[in-house]
Assembly symmetry: C2
Homo-oligomer: 659 residues x 2
Amino acid sequence: NYFFQYLSFIVWTVALAFCSSVIIKKLCYAAAGSGIPDLKSIFSGFWNSSVVQPRVLIWKVLGLLFSYGSGLSIGKEGPYIHISAILANTLLNIKPFKNIATNETQRSQMLASCCALGVAATFGSPIGGVLFSIEVTGTYYLIQNYWRAFFTATVGAVGIKILLSTPSNDLLESYRTSFESLNLATVQLLAFIITGILCGLLASLFIYMYSKIYTWKKHNQDFIKKITPYGEVIIVAAVTAVITFPLKFLRLDHASAVHTMFTAHDGVNTEELKVWTDSMPFNNSILLACFLYILVKLVLTAVSVTLPVPYGIYIPLFAIGAAVGRFVGESMKLIFPHMKDIYPTGYAVVGAAALCGGATRTVSSAVIILELTNDMTFLVPVLLGVVLSCGIGNLLNHSIYDCFLRNKGLPYLPFVKIKSDSLVAKDVMKREFRYVTRKTTLLRIQSVLDNVLDYAIPIVESDDNLFLIGTISRTTLEEVISYHERLHSYSLKSPIEGEEDGSGNTIITINSQNHNYYDNNDNDNSLLLQEESSQIEMNLIPKSESIDQLDSNQQTQSQLQNGSTDHQDINNNNNSGDIRSSLSLNNEIIIDIVHMELQNPWVVIDTSPIHIVESMPVRKIIFMFMMLGGNVLFVTNKGQLVGIINKTDIVQKGYLHHK
Amino acid sequence: NYFFQYLSFIVWTVALAFCSSVIIKKLCYAAAGSGIPDLKSIFSGFWNSSVVQPRVLIWKVLGLLFSYGSGLSIGKEGPYIHISAILANTLLNIKPFKNIATNETQRSQMLASCCALGVAATFGSPIGGVLFSIEVTGTYYLIQNYWRAFFTATVGAVGIKILLSTPSNDLLESYRTSFESLNLATVQLLAFIITGILCGLLASLFIYMYSKIYTWKKHNQDFIKKITPYGEVIIVAAVTAVITFPLKFLRLDHASAVHTMFTAHDGVNTEELKVWTDSMPFNNSILLACFLYILVKLVLTAVSVTLPVPYGIYIPLFAIGAAVGRFVGESMKLIFPHMKDIYPTGYAVVGAAALCGGATRTVSSAVIILELTNDMTFLVPVLLGVVLSCGIGNLLNHSIYDCFLRNKGLPYLPFVKIKSDSLVAKDVMKREFRYVTRKTTLLRIQSVLDNVLDYAIPIVESDDNLFLIGTISRTTLEEVISYHERLHSYSLKSPIEGEEDGSGNTIITINSQNHNYYDNNDNDNSLLLQEESSQIEMNLIPKSESIDQLDSNQQTQSQLQNGSTDHQDINNNNNSGDIRSSLSLNNEIIIDIVHMELQNPWVVIDTSPIHIVESMPVRKIIFMFMMLGGNVLFVTNKGQLVGIINKTDIVQKGYLHHK
């Protein structure tokens, strides 16, 4: 019977973990892992829509159900935050919210607020939620966003409170503690300091183990894959099941383990404590049980978070930390048997916060645990433990999220370190770049649009001097093209005559009286177009003008006559018309973008892009990207555009290496 | 007897307030007010050492003792934060810490951390302290400083805990609450929302009143001063005493008032409650008492914070907010007499947090109150109240600290609003500016140093083209001068001969063999100087070279001969020597700063200052100042320096007006 139970436990664990892995590998790889590193990358300015698509939500939820349910030593906080972000992004694509977030900054802010909500809802800790999401995702934080994030988190917390309003239904009840007052002016202060330092060291060890396992797997990928594509998941799940089944407390879910550590002591919840001690040989066997729990869980968690399944790391670390704290607390009780107010349960709270704080490098872990336990008595020890643990951790290695981020190869600015301090803009800039000249043709604009992915496209004075005038957005350039195409296809229907305006510019006047292109019903519409076409007059300067401004009048005049003849030819030929040929004609016309801006409010040129000099160190460039946002910096030499530095390039190219 | 008490109460109040006012007006005006606005200005990049000098500390403490003790309706949190900052700054000037904070950024960070400590110590709320100081002083916050601030605050909290370790000694005990669990899914949720909105409105009203009183006083300054220089203080103190004496609960200190509001209800602390109700006519007179308290205190506080005394506003608002909350709670009890878990004391907690949050516009007020009451039960209602109150407040006017800031005329970037959106760099830049040319004389450097206050001084290619090469710090320029003076006073002792080096530059070789200037004991020293003098060879390029490079050899040669003759003349004349004349000679020598940088590691040129174009909108310039720090931006046109924009100028000049 025991054997049968054992076997079925293993089978279930393996089967569920396998399902989760299949979902990730076959259906949606973006749903793998914690999700926090991906969001961190997004918040640092590298938008990646594939991470926040609705389909990721579905597979993440399903995958998490299987992986969390399987009994692997993983948590769910990271995925919850990811799910919140996807929900927010999905909402932002729906009608009433679509206008809110047209720019990426606002969209990111909205996602960030919802991440706070994710934590707030997981732990019922709105304040900790906001602080955690700030610390975990950002480099700096605008105070003006504080209120928004807190508002979102409060709404979430109110929602949770109402949903869980009957105490029997309170999922978070198991974390509640109620301590008597605590006197810090004793040897206990030292014990709390030791707990903090110990947790910091263990957190660093955990991160070190994870990194080693990850690297080992990477180097032996072929060997692992040879056995079976899902070999690693099956093996890890099987080992987890084999190890955790015999000792009952090892296969407790994390919330139960934490509940025991936080609340069960002499006389209270002794039943729960028995689960831990009964299988142990000694009298004070809680010490041994805690030790075993820490050892086994730390290794299993480090292995599990290298698997291709959705996972979180917060709650397992929480449970391990509670065991660490309990271990210190029980030791204190043994060493000072006659001291009055030693609460090993209180040490468990400190340890849980400190280990999480140490691994995630967030001070807000302290706030989360205070909100979660609904008890302020251990405020100072908890904060002390977390601050020390974070500090020790920072001396030794990077946070676990930063390791995830590096291993996933996600772009993240603050995380890169420059290979050499002497590296300057000149060394990293793209010397070959596309630009639009002030006076250009539709054909050239189209060619630039086809070849450039950047959002902001530089406008220079001329091909010869390359003086940077400003930048224009892709969208505006696309609108410029469609505007001219529309204008031209309209002009096909109407007689065109060349004339000279007062300023000496030769212009094409489109006779806007003959609006036979439109039905008579469309009067408003055509009036609008009349205005548009008279507005555009100034902007349609024939190409010849730029070649020879002084002597171009007759030439232009004749060219225009040719033009209008062509037009009318086409006009006669078509109604279904060969638009291509008319377009190619249109492409010959020179457009002065600066003129267009003066006369069309929808043509917006940013005339003050940030120039940097060739000698600017890359360190400073990264700082500017971080603080000012934006994706592109323009390198100029005496006003002349000599290179472009793209944020993505700077991260992806070999100029930099991860710390 | 009653009359005598009344009179002595008035006399005491007036006398103490008068003393405080004398301290401020006669001895140290920088100690006036809250201190938070001054720090806010410092943290936004406008260093003002007069605010953080040790003498301010002494007068602030003394002044606060008198003003707080007098019974004026003021608090002490702001001054505590200010005192912490001064302590930090004083420590930073002492030996072991002097090196830590050589640059202003680090110094500001250190001060900011200590501000967190100030709040942490006042309220025993380390987490709230950190968050409050972040919100109140910053525009944005670097996450990397989170840990430092929390570490400082934790140390402070541990200190406070140990100092107050015996419960009878616990100054914060009076704020402790212990509520039963709360069900939010009832009409109470609505009541909490109403409390939040009401507090937001009252907070805005308070700020409005303060502004009106301040403006009125400003316009009638002459009239007020005519009566007596301390007239306003005496009148306000007298009125405060006259109003608050008859109703005993009005002259309670704020902590006692809060204690009653937070804890006294049916059966508990009824004695304290009687102080409030006994002087009232009706049965449910607590409602009337609260109403009176709110009315009187709100007006008195708004008047008191216009006085020239040290004051805080947090604790009075805390007490008023508690009364507002209590008022709502007691009303709820009247309206729903049969509902079970209505705690008017809980409403008082929500109200206190919400009113403070509304006036200071900080969400962290919620955290402070949760830590202060040591009770998490009302977490969600408190947060809800604060978030709503802040939101309502932000819709109506600016935070009270921003009003202080504006009235004090302190420079603060994020607070200014540009008069016109079309204002660009060209309109605000200084067209007349001092600069150093690449090849310059000591005389010119000295003249620039005498006339410019900026830290970073631009270096341009030449007077003709003004091409911006980089910037150099004042300190470095001063060192360059003293270096050359030292070199010259040394060269006075040694024969000088002109010769031509390989690169065609005419240089002065200082014969470093003859070091008769030094004792024989100083061998090491003189060797050092030998190296220095041979290093400097390249940098001493005679002036003539810059005038005519091609045809200058003979001219230079002759000039050099003249020069060396002069040198030897002086050399012959002196030992106590007329240094002035030798300096004036030295001033003629042309120094190539770029050359100097290449050869002397201590000459640092920032070759990548941030260029901006003339068409950059002022809005964007302010954003750059805010995010990138620094004090100066250089406006260039095709590489040519055309203007300088100074952060201080932009705030002080009329281009901008406060919102």
